[in-house]
Amino acid sequence: MADRAQPVSGAPGIGAALCVATLILGALAAVVWRAEPGSGLGPSDWQAVRFTLIQAALSAGLSVALAVPVARALARRRFVGRGALITLLGAPFILPVIVAVLGLLAVFGRAGWVSQALGALGLEPLRIYGLHGVVLAHVFFNLPLATRLILQGWQEIPGERFRLAAQLGAGPEAIWRLLERPMLARTAPGALAVVFAICLTSFAVALTLGGGPRATTVELAIYQAFRFDFDLGRAALLSGIQIVLTALAAGLALRAAPGGGFGAGLDRAVQRWDANTPTLRLLDGAAITLAALFLLLPLAAIAMAGLPGLTELPASVFRAARTSVLIALLSTGVLLVLAVPMAASIAMVRRAAWIEIAGLLGLAVSPLVIGTGLFIVIYPLADPRALALPVTALVNAVMALPFALRILVPRARAVIGDFGQLGLSLNMGGGPFLRLVLLPRMRAQIGFTAGLAAALSMGDLGVIALFADQDMATLPLQIYRLMGAYRMEAAAGAALLLLGLSMLAFWIFDRGGRWHAEP
């Protein structure tokens, strides 16, 4: 069949994809060019590979398995504070890692609340360092992300379908088979792949809760080679290993790309008639309560530790905060300019797989790999440290791109599938369709994407650690330095400030986009 007419041009998205591909592949080429095979992989390198894979698989499986009951409970229950809880679910993912680790230590650490309670019962305290600590932290970070991704799938089932099912007398089991299982079959693999890829490139968690020869990730090893030895050749070789690992994860993610949608539903609030049995209410209540406690306790711990230090923050903290806000805004703008056109192109253009691959390249390069590559490219031309700010913003945007596309593409597909023909028949080509249909109907997803991008960038501690000199710091880096100098009061206060800024950035964008407002 000849190419069918399309409501919007695919060209901007193709251009954006080319830019991203050039940037990432250029960085990869630099890494490969600079890598020094030397004596090949030592036993400690293999140990790092093994540890990286095991912890990522465990983290992804646990996160998604636990997310399904939580998402289902949230999808079919209405209760006071539900909106707040859903917003809160965005928190750990966008929580700056160092801050969250401090919170987890306060709850699950050797001297933490849980250990104290166990001690009161005469039991051994928890041991958080090592594999289970790393997995615990990853589940803490990714359970909410998985819940939100799956909940979004639930909410994309139009309310009319549930109404139809209720009318047919379908009980919870029939609804599971008819509507929910097919939806999960589309969303869960994508969620698994995303969490796996995130955990594969874990850096700060491994730095704080892992470490040592038995719990070092490849990403951490790259940083150590770069920062401690300034051994670019070895950092490049380790980056090569990381590329192979993450390419594997990117392949998984691509295979798990979701298929067709559930069709159009007019925007009525979703109501459920099937789940009003006492047992289901109890189960859903338990799932929501446990998840909320798991997420809230560490956040409460951060707040309690940080409040005393908040009044006497050093000026360096505020300078760093200003830098972080600037980077976050820049990074969000860059991301949206790349991601929205790419999502539209992926949804429309035939044989668009390469655009999707270009978007997923961000998964195939970890921040430290791309940072290493860019450093190698920039080093002979200019002082990399002078470019720390724009490079950090750019890398943050590219890193957020895969998540952005996973959020934007299914919606863009649905909108174009449902309304593309109508738009064409009304001659709404190009601008009008974009302005009146595509962007308004994608607003919730765009807002969510922007919120994630801004907060992730705000809390990022990755590339900046490679590029910044002593005079320049983002807020997370400044906290890291304060901790290194054992100024724990100030670090905790700055952590609370960073938490507030990240949450605020996420909230403003996500709120602005969420128009699926319930009555």
Partner: protein
């Protein structure tokens, strides 16, 4: 005048061939067994399905390769004829300007059209807050504003009750009369066809036959149509 010259339209494994002329202002029902290709034929005329062979002409002008919105065609689909996030007024206004940058004079025309289809007072409503009949009326107001010479209906009223459907069809016929538009409507109901279409195109066994008087076709149906109608 709509002219399908030796046209072949492919839809997956089957094709529909069409070679006929439709006079301007005609009201034509497209009837035939399910799955015979009625929608395929309409989609080709609307520009959503390319021709494998042949041409489509409107008043002698070749429109075979024109984009859907550039054709002299207004179309109502089986469903999804309104944007749920836009108000009734905006949905109708799209018929005048697809970018919705309406002048005050154009806004007045939108209100007049909405009043013509009986929706005055509901301009600010979203489609979700309208009844099925009101949604159909909103779409018809847009068709009226589009003012295209060829109106294609792919059973947009199939979900409505018989009385409401008849009411909508009468409204369509009246609107087509007022604007002088040529009407082609897919129909599953012989009574609907008789009601407003003096001519009918039979689509059966991969062929869209030239239009013939509806009464003749329905009174002495060929075998394929007779089996579908179930008439003795």
């Amino acid at each position: 005048m709509l002219n399908l010259e030796d046209a072949v339209i492919r839809n997956g494994v089957f094709t529909v061939t069409a070679d006929f002329v439709i006079d301007s202002g005609a009201k034509i029902a497209v009837i035939g067994p399910s799955g015979a290709g009625k929608t395929t034929l309409i989609e080709a005329i609307a520009g959503f399905r390319p021709l494998e062979r042949g041409r489509i002409l409107w008043d002698g002008r070749d429109i075979t390769h024109d984009a859907p919105g550039a054709r002299p065609v207004a179309m109502l689909f089986q469903d999804g004829n309104l944007f749920p996030h836009l108000s009734v007024e905006q949905n109708a206004g799209l018929g005048l300007r697809p970018d919705l940058r309406l002048t005050s004079e154009q806004k007045k025309r939108v209100h007049t059209a909405l009043a013509r289809v009986g929706l005055q007072g509901l301009e600010e409503r979203k489609p979700g807050a309208l009844s099925g009949g009101q949604q159909s009326r909103a779409a018809l107001a847009r068709v009226l504003l589009q003012d295209r010479p060829l109106l294609l209906l792919d059973e947009p009223f199939a979900a409505l009750g018989p009385a409401l459907k008849a009411e909508m069809l009468d409204l369509v016929a009246a609107l087509a009369q007022e604007t002088g538009a040529t009407l082609m409507m897919i129909s599953h109901d012989p009574d609907d066809a008789r009601r407003i279409a003096d001519l009918a195109i039979l689509v059966a066994e991969g062929v869209a036959h030239p239009p013939q008087p509806t009464a003749d076709l329905l009174d002495t149906p060929p075998p394929a149509l007779r089996a579908y109608l179930g008439a003795g």
